[in-house]
Symmetry: C2
Subunit: 348 residues, 2 copies
């Protein structure tokens, strides 16, 4: 029927000027109304099985892809999940992102990353700009936020899961592990192996670092060594080079120290390498323990004793929990403890 092309009142296949295949095109091809297509596609309510099939066939034939912007505008909810992390230079958060990414995109969500630089003001600003995008969900690192940030989250009504730390607050949601308990456990390991002068060395003083320090203090106190608590804090960002410097400082300022618990593996790795350069025997002269079991810790000389933390699994589980919340499904366990593991290697 080539004449059809010439017939002015023949219904055009593409209603719009953009050339884009729209939901209306699918509806026409399937012989149903646009609403039915919309419902069939989203699996909402009951649509007759045969109609669903016709719709799916039309979608496949036309290569229809829904327009996220139109969807977001009409439903006032986008397919974005905003994820706020402190820094991209910390491997722990990158691995968290990686896991979140996989889970979220597999479910059709887009991840929007916000980097707060460990700054409450920045966190608030980033969150505010993200909220304008009407995200379907929110992943926040940690539990501590400024009042303004908390109010923004609350007021937005956007489902939110806090990760890395564990909350107990009713109504909120979290996936993580007890940083305090992990700090206590690794300190206990040092004490169990006979160390008597254990120092806690920390950089980048975020809440989790401080919680690990609390665990350290608790372990010493439980062992009746409360007066031996010795913490070295640096406000600088964590790095291998800093770890080496802090080791040197501890050796000089507190030469009786026989073990160091570093708040992060990068510091501990740096300390191990510095010890090598300085000729300081590990673990004989001083035992070294880290935190997070980062890439490379198993390759150190000697291999680094540390705490393996489940950031990959945290990402997976947080994504699951958030998706349940976004669908309005109930969450049986709003605060999920994924635990940690002491990894005993040769350094301590």
């Amino acid at each position: 029927m080539p004449s059809r092309k010439l017939t002015t009142n023949a219904a055009p296949r593409r209603t719009r000027a953009t050339g884009r295949v729209t939901l209306a095109d699918v509806a026409q091809a399937a012989g149903v109304s646009p609403i039915t297509v919309s419902r069939a596609l989203r699996g909402e309510r009951a649509v007759a099985a045969d109609l669903v099939e016709r719709v799916q066939a039309a979608v496949a034939e036309l290569g229809y892809v829904p327009d996220p912007a139109a969807r977001a505008l009409a439903s006032s909810r986008s397919s974005h999940v905003a994820v706020l992390i402190p820094k991209l230079s910390n491997t722990v958060f990158v691995e968290l992102l990686d896991a979140l990414q996989r889970s979220l995109t597999a479910a059709g969500y887009q991840m929007l990353i916000g980097v707060t630089q460990y700054d409450a003001r920045e966190e608030e600003a980033v969150l505010r700009s993200f909220l304008a995008h009407r995200p379907a969900g929110l992943i926040m690192t940690g539990l501590e936020h400024s009042p303004a940030t908390a109010a923004l989250i609350e007021g937005s009504g956007v489902p939110c899961v806090h990760v890395m730390e564990l909350s107990a607050e009713p109504g909120s949601h979290s996936v993580g592990f007890s940083q305090r308990e992990a700090g206590r456990a690794i300190t206990q390991h040092l004490l169990d192996s006979g160390r008597r002068h254990v120092t806690y060395v920390a950089a980048q003083l975020d809440p989790r670092t401080l919680q690990r320090g609390e665990g350290y203090v608790a372990a010493l106190q439980a062992a009746g060594m409360g007066e031996r608590v010795r913490q070295v804090h640096s406000a600088e960002p964590s790095s291998m080079a800093l770890g080496g410097q802090l080791l040197a400082r501890v050796l000089k300022e507190a030469p009786d120290t026989d073990a160091i618990f570093f708040c992060n593996d990068d510091l501990a790795q740096g300390a191990l390498l510095a010890a090598l350069r300085l000729g300081v025997k590990v673990p004989e002269r001083i035992a070294v323990a880290g935190f997070n079991n980062l890439p490379g810790s198993d390759q150190m000389v000697p291999p680094l004793t540390t705490v393996a933390t489940p950031r990959g699994e945290i990402g997976v589980q947080a994504a699951q929990m958030l998706m349940a919340l976004m669908r309005g499904q109930p969450v049986e366990q709003p605060h999920l403890d994924l635990g940690f593991q002491i990894v005993r290697r040769a350094s301590a």
Copy 2:
């Protein structure tokens, strides 16, 4: 005037049911038309200075934030920039992302990250799904893409900048450095320091790794040592542990090797640590050079000689170039060579 609240025909401040402050609200408050507000906000065309001021005052007073979804739907262009990288586990790409992130969000764009896992099929799938979001711009890692992927980019009409490698193709845009030349230069450094049996060890065989290998070959050939080319390739992902294994393999299978150029610092770092464990003297017995100057390379024992690559600057410059393209501005230098730097340390 409390009676105003009771007057049925009093103009409501908020026209919509959502409670959201809209452009129409701003227009009303400023006493201009919505189009004028739209133009004033985007800095488009000439709007009388006093009107712009009135609009800005109204925006500030009402706390107006434009709706990205509405904007995207009306303009058929979102405020997203899609960034495709091979892996999140490679620090190089994380640092690239970090730089892109800062530049892009500062300019009001949202970064959408796609991870291709070094897989052409995955790259195509990710790109296809991103294109449905009608991104304003595109950042692609590398120059080599499947024909389907290339066609998708071309057909979408979305401005695209390729990063890490350097193209020469007219019409395309790239920011990076010559991987081949960098591979040549570090190999030359090894030759210059008297090494005569240099092996190239590579994992995760992506195009850039292969280009570095070409540079390695070129250097040997230029030195009249073309017959001494020896490359060890592993298809496994790059890691410190793998670096140690590959060092052992080279020492066993080609004991006359007096220098290794590793395609990435994580391999080289692992090799250095393995050498320490094995009692293999570096650089006396064997010189070790890496690539990328990753965090920790300066802390190794001995410190690692490597090639510093400008991924941060690549991110910054690529963002600049893309923003020019997105605004339709001309780009004076479509292929930007940011160079590299040989970092001489003790390992080679």
